[in-house]
Amino acid sequence: MIETHAFESAEQAQAFLQTLGGYAEPPAVAPLKGEAAHEVAVGPVHAGVIEPGHFRFQCVGENVYNLQIFLGYQHRGVEDAIVQADGNLPRQIALAETCAGDTSIAAATAFAEIIEARDGLRVSARDHALRRLLLELERIANHVGDLGALAGDVAFLPTASFCGRIRGDYLNLTALVCGNRFGRNAVVPGGLRVALTDETRTKILAGLRAAKRDLDAALKLMFESPSVCDRLDGTGVVPKDVAAQLGLVGVARRASDELNGDVLARALIRRKEIDEAHEVVFGLLEEESLWAKDNGQRTMDSGEGPHTANASRDEPRSENSGWAGAASAAPFTAVVATVAAWRGPLVHAAVFDTHGAMRRYKIVDPSAHNWQGLAWALRGEQISNFPICNKSFNLSYCGTDR
């Protein structure tokens, strides 16, 4: 989804970007007093192979009274780097893709859509379908991995083992399309650098059917196990009204809106999204008319011209304006792209001047909205419930820190 907004000054455009939101560290809470009060500090280096963040559990006795989340360890200046790389599309795409590695495809799509809006590039139905296919594979792989990790955290090893492997099966299907397990280096403004041959399409269909069969069995085992369900049920509840007030998005929001907002609800929503994503992917792959005309055409952002091949311009680029498509005569134009990434809506926004030069870039990862949901989920719980609460959200540190 693309929106454009015109502004008279850079300050106005900047003020608009700030309305898109982002992570705000909560105000510091005074240390608790009393005999039962104590604090547990964790991180930034954690016990698992995970990203850095610092958590401070303020506890009263056994229970968590408040969880403070300190981020920023992963900050490396992705947004500024994208602005500085203006004019070097391959570098800008690579930077967007590495904002959060598990959301590479969604990020590249959001960035590409912004450039497409600026340059008036039209993307073919086939390329839209291929992007969607990769995006849904990304969604499935991540949800499968998280459900497996959740099973692992409650020591239900069969599903943990199966899902760890099945997640890899989905990543390998992505790699079949573009050579990279995270779908890197595929999406570019105007289309994709890769094509989907009939041979690959057949392989992916077969691979998907096999993986889905294994996956259904693995998830059935987990969700039909009374011990697992009892452990997840009623743990880390974020009620519907709280989710709305905190502005949660994506899986966490759906879990509170459609179900009761506990860890089990977030797990069930993921299972539902896995099924929905499979329907989309099978629908796309089996839609013969979409791929019939596919002669392996690829869009290049390298070689001659910034983007050629099957991307067609709505109208020729005018002499004195950088804008060709959603043309704007305003001094500053903000283009906002929203992509339904697996965690929730991923927002990328760019401010261009009248010549089409990029002046500012902003990324709002869906995680940015959900950290306070995690903190809320832990209220009144024991610290030992943190791993499963955390896993049920699985928020991105690097996507938030940028």
Binding site: E51, R91, G101, C398
Partner: protein, 262 residues
């Protein structure tokens, strides 16, 4: 319990044949070690550099044209810009023990991955415990390192594990460019590991900063695993070779390299 057993029977034994019985199952478009043609001109190089997402991954010095795998994201755009002159082979055994060995030169001799000669590293062949430090990257390297613990790769059968504390670790497995806010945490974690210890730099970011500014490493890495992110097969093979172990991949090196170049 019975349901779990039935599910296990249906799923079958799924640990891959790599690296004990066969080479890895790589995707058709897998981009491994790059190869530069001896006839690469300065014009070609300029064209390739213009589309390269990383500064200084490609260059020219006294030794001629080079591609630095320590910076490369393996996106393949330079190969598109210079068809026939730059190409990415299917060679996945990319782990090396020195920074210089990551630099690929134009027209160089066929590649053979280095063998471990350091006795301290070879002493770890039975048990190699890693402490991962994620420092400012995008988490793709972390995810594909984690994957080695799953039953599909089952790194544990080789005695290699990621451990919870640096106190238990033989090596620090670093990913990410070392952001300013992780600098101190990385130093402290490295210092907390007992001697003898090694630093492993995994991914373009940890090796050179990649797309980002590079922080300061607490030591000179003893193992470099290039990639963005490195493929799990690349990582596993590198860890085994680093500890002086032979795998199918190394014992059948000649057969494999002939099949790779075809």
């Amino acid at each position: 319990m019975l349901k779990a057993l039935i599910a296990r029977l249906r799923q079958g034994f799924r640990t891959g044949a790599f690296p004990t019985k066969a080479g890895p199952n790589l995707p058709p478009d897998f981009r491994g070690r790059p190869a530069l043609d001896a006839g690469l001109t300065t014009d070609d190089l300029a064209r390739a550099k213009a589309v390269c997402p990383v500064a200084d991954a490609l260059g020219h010095d006294a030794g001629g044209a080079f591609l630095d795998m320590g910076r490369c994201t393996f996106c393949g755009r330079c190969a598109e810009a210079c068809p026939g002159k730059i190409r990415f082979t299917k060679e996945y055994r990319l782990g090396v023990f020195t920074r210089e060995a990551l630099v690929v030169r134009a027209g160089e001799a066929p590649y053979e991955p280095p063998r471990q000669t350091n006795p301290e590293a070879c002493a770890l062949r039975q048990s190699f415990q890693l402490r991962e430090v994620s420092a400012g990257g995008c988490a793709a390297c972390e995810l594909d390192a984690n994957v080695l613990g799953t039953l599909a790769w089952d790194m544990g059968r080789f005695g290699i594990r990621f451990v919870a504390s640096p106190r238990h670790a033989d090596a620090i497995y670093l990913t990410g460019p070392v952001s300013p806010n992780m600098q101190r945490a990385l130093e402290k974690t490295y210092a907390a590991a007992p001697e003898p210890k090694f630093l492993i730099a995994a991914g373009a970011c940890a090796i050179s900063g990649g797309l980002y500014a590079h922080g300061t490493l607490p030591a000179v890495p003893a193992l470099f695993i290039p990639g963005c992110p490195p493929h799990p097969a690349t990582t596993l093979e590198a860890l085994l070779r680093f500890t002086g172990r032979e795998t199918f991949a190394t014992t059948n090196a000649s057969r494999l390299s002939s099949s790779l170049s075809s």
